[in-house]
């Protein structure tokens, strides 16, 4: 299953590119950036680097590719970067946060275990989302 992951990431990115109405001639760039970014993230996670840092580095790579695209084609980088980073969205962590939160709220008595679980998943989700957004925006830090 793992070997097909970049393909699925590309498919997810392509789907979002269509939703965001990315010009057809640039769809291929979205797919390429998504595959490169997702592959880098998978390699870094497998090599033992935490998922947050791996996501930050992969998103920074996509942001850099977006900047190069922007310089070369004279287009805003968002055209390819936003759809390309979508496959890195921490869907399972977000879902676990929701479920833990609902369980915590519906619990008749305060449960510190549920609270800790909710906080853990929420922090993971927030940090990964932050890493994605910061990574894409990071190349913009180079210029005033």
């Amino acid at each position: 299953m793992m070997t097909y992951d970049p393909f699925y990431a590309a498919l997810a990115a392509l789907g979002f590119a269509v939703i965001f109405n990315v010009p057809k001639k640039f769809l291929i760039f979205v797919v390429i950036a998504a595959i490169i970014g997702f592959t880098l993230k998978s390699i870094l996670v497998k090599s033992g680097i935490g998922i947050e840092l791996s996501t930050l580095l992969a998103a920074t790579l996509i942001g850099t590719l977006g900047k190069l695209f922007s310089l070369f084609y004279k287009e805003p980088h968002q055209i390819i970067t936003i759809a390309s980073v979508i496959p890195m969205v921490p869907g399972t962590f977000a879902f676990k946060t929701i479920i833990s939160l609902l369980n915590f709220v519906s619990s008749p008595l305060p449960s510190y275990e549920l609270l800790a679980q909710t906080t853990f998943y929420a922090a993971k989700t927030a940090f990964i989302l932050g890493a994605i957004a910061l990574g894409v925006a990071a190349p913009s830090l180079l210029k005033k």
Partner: protein
């Protein structure tokens, strides 16, 4: 050459419409600012003071002793990268010889264009994207199918509600509610056994990706107010997704958690 008050008005009308559409299409603040400044200076304005906020753009154009201040309200937010690309190209191609009215007409014509992907194609795209997410979460073939069906129905509902002008937060809540109920129905029918992957994947097309990324970009570039406002909007959309799932889970009982 000093521009007349009437010429300044035409330039302001043109640039404000372009700025408004760029913001509505998902541009970050600094791109809108730099595009509009370059454009009005290419038209021959000596000086431009520009304020781009999430809900308004106001500008003062100065030429010699004449000046003109105008403001425009930002209405909806709907990411459209094709429109953004075309508008960016228009602002880059303006030269001092260009007539502001011709640019305004070109912009208005652009706004009338049909999108390159129709609603059905976007619905299928969302469904395939969510099924791909289910695959990324190591889901089985049945879970992929479940995510596809739930996302297809939810996106269809979102499109219908969007067209009818419902509040985006309500639209998002309704879509995530329908996705949750759809997954619950597939479980009740015995088609799905494991449910978390299908449900987690089927609502991901609602994630406010453009807002979240623009938030950071705006804040990094010093547009704190706009960045925070966009971030708050993204957060509200995220809460809407959660609310829809929570209500859906309550409606279908304990079959999911």
């Amino acid at each position: 050459m000093e521009l007349s008050r009437d010429e300044l008005k035409k330039i302001a009308d043109t640039s404000l419409l372009i700025g408004k559409t760029m913001l509505e299409s998902g541009a970050e603040i600094s791109i809108v600012e730099s595009s509009l400044c370059n454009m009005v200076q290419s038209f021959g304005c000596e000086k431009v003071n520009l304020s781009v906020l999430p809900k308004t753009i106001s500008m003062t154009l100065v030429s010699g002793n004449e000046f003109r201040t105008k403001m425009i309200h930002i209405e909806t937010f709907s990411p459209d990268m094709q429109k953004l690309s075309e508008l960016y190209r228009i602002t880059k191609n303006v030269t001092p010889e260009c007539d502001p009215i011709a640019v305004l007409q070109e912009t208005k014509k652009l706004l009338m264009y049909d999108q390159q992907f129709n609603a059905l194609e976007k619905i299928f795209a969302a469904a395939f994207a969510c099924a791909a997410f289910a695959a990324l979460f190591q889901g089985s073939a049945v879970e992929l199918m479940g995510a596809f069906v739930a996302a297809f129905l939810a996106m269809s509902l979102k499109k219908i509600l969007d067209v009818r002008g419902f509040n985006p937060l309500l639209t998002t809540t309704a879509a995530s509610l329908l996705a949750t109920i759809s997954v619950g129905a597939l479980i009740s029918l015995g088609i799905l056994e494991e449910n978390k992957i299908a449900l987690a994947s089927s609502v991901l097309f609602l994630v406010p990706g453009v807002q979240l990324i623009n938030t950071f970009e705006d804040i990094i570039k010093g547009h704190y107010l706009s960045g925070l406002a966009r971030g708050l909007h993204g957060l509200m959309i995220s809460f809407s997704i959660v609310f829809g799932i929570a209500v859906g889970l309550k409606l279908i009982g304990g079959s999911i958690v």
